[in-house]
Amino acid sequence: MAVDGGPELVQLLTPEGVLVEHPDVALVLTDEQWRERYELLVMVRRLDAEATALQRHGELGLWAPCQGQEAAQVGAALATRPTERIFPTYREHGMAYVRGVDPVTLLGLFRGTTLGGWDPADHGFNLYTIVIGDQTLHAVGYAMGAQRDGAHEGVLVCFGDGASSQGDVAEAFVYAAVNDAPVVFFCQNNQWAISEPLERQTRIPLFKRAAGYGFPGVRVDGNDVLAVEAVVSAALERARAGGGPTLVEAFTYRMGAHTTSDDPTRYRTTAEGEAWRLKDPIERVRAHIVRSGIADAAWLAEVEGRAEQLGEHMRTACRAMPDPTPTSMFDQVYAEDHPVMDRERAWLTSYLAGFTDAPHHAGAGGGQ
């Protein structure tokens, strides 16, 4: 069971909430910045809990929880500039939140009203990608485009320990390396690919794979929001300056299930969960800001209040999300007119019109 990140783990804030120095990495935050980070972590945990609850109440078909990975996601997203594109997997709800994406936008995919449905340009946040690893190549291509545009932009792409075994990730490493593409490969090693432990994916620490491709690899404490932000900032700065790609392995833990359909008690021990609970990404920040006098009980309560409001907003908006109209499935398969879409749309319209008293097909098409 992997709990300890080893001697090469970059850490700036211990699980006990104590700031520590690192020879190569440093980041100093103002009190305001500390409060901002704490609040982001709390909000992300809340939105994740709300979505999980919505799934349990039948409002979502599925949810992929990010509990335990809040620091990795918030820290990495904060390291990017708003103009820089993030390529998520399907679990980067924390990054989406940092980018200003309304969590309700993420729910459509899990509720079954859309396959994604947002414009990546709106918040510089690409669509969720479900086939694991595919997006690493998209990010490299996007970064190659940034190079051609002469833009000094970095690109951040997420994947997990499971996806590290995918051929596309290996190809993305190759393409990024030979092109010096300004991309940061951000691997959230949460120790489990559904039921398969890290040992089923690799014999060496994942960050060491970068050496074989000719670019640096760093392992950072993924539950340490400060260290993640510092390490990813440095990697992005290197990318912007033309230094090429970096692999950042955020050593973290998926505290919940892979998805709401999963039962982790079948493959992992409660002892492991308890060991990781002691490394909770939020508790350490709370310990630090309370002990340092950056935040008091009243402010912490205000944050809890705002988190509750976010939960309420998600609940209300999720339940109000309309099902898509039946023929909308034909509308955006192609950018231009297509005779098969026209034919099948017309047929479905006429078929549905034949049900004069048909509650089954009336109105929206969801659920049949």
């Binding site: 994604g116 947002w118 990546p120 291509g141 190809e171 030979v178 509308d331 950018a335």
Partner: protein, 337 residues
């Protein structure tokens, strides 16, 4: 490096071009017209492609626009997706038909779906060029006709020229089109020459997806595409029956109105393709035409294609590929009903 060959820049009159050169000329023209157009693939730069279709492009447009990629096909298509998201229009070359399968996931899972997944906000303006089909005496995986896999995938468009003139026009239309286009190049016809009007204006986009009746006839219709167009024309010329030949040109979408109109007149349809008949596009055409022309058909729609075996060793390919005799044998059967 030392390359000095220039791609024809477009003169004032007709040029006699091979199909390969016609595509090169179209690519160069598209690249001159739109700085966002990129060419990428294995050996497309310094070498000019194993079939020389991209010959001279890197010399004219530089290594930033004509990219020699690592030898990883999923990487070619996956990075093209990212470039398209960034506003570029990559024209990817898959070196041989049989090498497209490492990229199958990126094509079917990402390229074909991102427009829909993004609620229409992402244009996947990507062209995937594939030297296609058999007949060149190659080793395994160099003679495949994988069109049915992709025609089955919503979100993709598939076109295939059969002549230098069409190749020149269709590659330019495919590059302009906002949807992803698989561009299948009949590799055994690469070296056939014809006059091409390199100054002609680009026809309306809808023409890209139109079939063309290339020979009028009244007894039976031969529907074919790519390399089989010449085969069918030769068969029609050699036969005493009055055979109509249609070049499908677009495989996804199929131009059913043109096919149906023809079958309504002739009453008989044969679909001729190199791919194995089992689950092939011929089956799709047969079903659609039967539905549309049930009362006009004098015979069942017949398929003439590759056998349902892996593409055979080169010494057997003449037997595997439909030829004039195979086509006319099927016409005999159709006429016997």
């Amino acid at each position: 490096m030392r390359r000095t060959t220039r791609v024809p820049a477009g003169g004032s009159d007709m040029a006699v071009l091979t199909m390969a050169r016609a595509i090169t000329t179209g690519l160069a023209m598209a690249m001159r017209e739109d700085p966002k157009v990129l060419v990428m693939g294995e050996d497309v730069g310094r070498l000019g492609g194993v079939f020389r279709v991209t010959d001279g492009l890197q010399a004219e447009f530089g290594e930033e626009r004509v990219i020699d990629t690592p030898l990883a096909e999923s990487g070619i298509i996956g990075t093209a997706v990212g470039l398209a998201m960034r506003g570029y229009a990559p024209v990817c070359e898959i070196q041989f038909d049989g090498f497209i399968f490492p990229a199958f996931d990126q094509i079917t899972t990402q390229v074909a779906r991102l427009h829909l997944r993004s609620a229409g906000t992402l244009a996947m303006r990507i062209v995937i060029r594939v030297p296609n089909g058999g007949g060149i005496g190659a080793v395994e995986h160099h003679s495949e006709s994988p069109e049915a896999y992709f025609a089955h995938t919503p979100g993709l468009r598939i076109v295939t020229p059969s002549s230098p003139g069409d190749a020149f026009t269709m590659i330019r239309q495919a590059i302009v089109h906002p949807d992803p286009v698989l561009f299948l190049e009949p590799k055994r016809r690469y070296w056939e020459k014809a006059e091409v009007d390199v100054d002609a204006p680009l026809p309306p986009m809808a023409d890209l997806f139109r079939a063309r009746v290339v020979r009028r006839g009244s007894d039976a219709t031969l529907l074919c595409w790519g390399p089989m167009v010449r085969t069918c024309l030769e068969a029609a010329e050699a036969d005493t029956r009055d055979l109509e030949v249609i070049d499908a040109r677009s495989l996804a979408p199929l131009d059913l109105p043109t096919i149906v109109e023809s079958v309504t007149r002739t009453g008989r349809l044969l679909v001729v393709h190199e791919a194995p008949v089992t689950g092939g596009l011929g089956a799709e055409v047969a079903a659609s035409v039967t539905e549309a022309c049930f009362y006009q058909l004098e015979a069942p729609v017949l398929r003439v294609g590759g056998f349902s075996v892996p593409y055979p060793p080169a010494r057997l390919e003449d037997l595997y590929l439909p030829d004039l005799d195979r086509v006319l044998e099927a016409v005999d059967r159709a006429m016997a009903y």
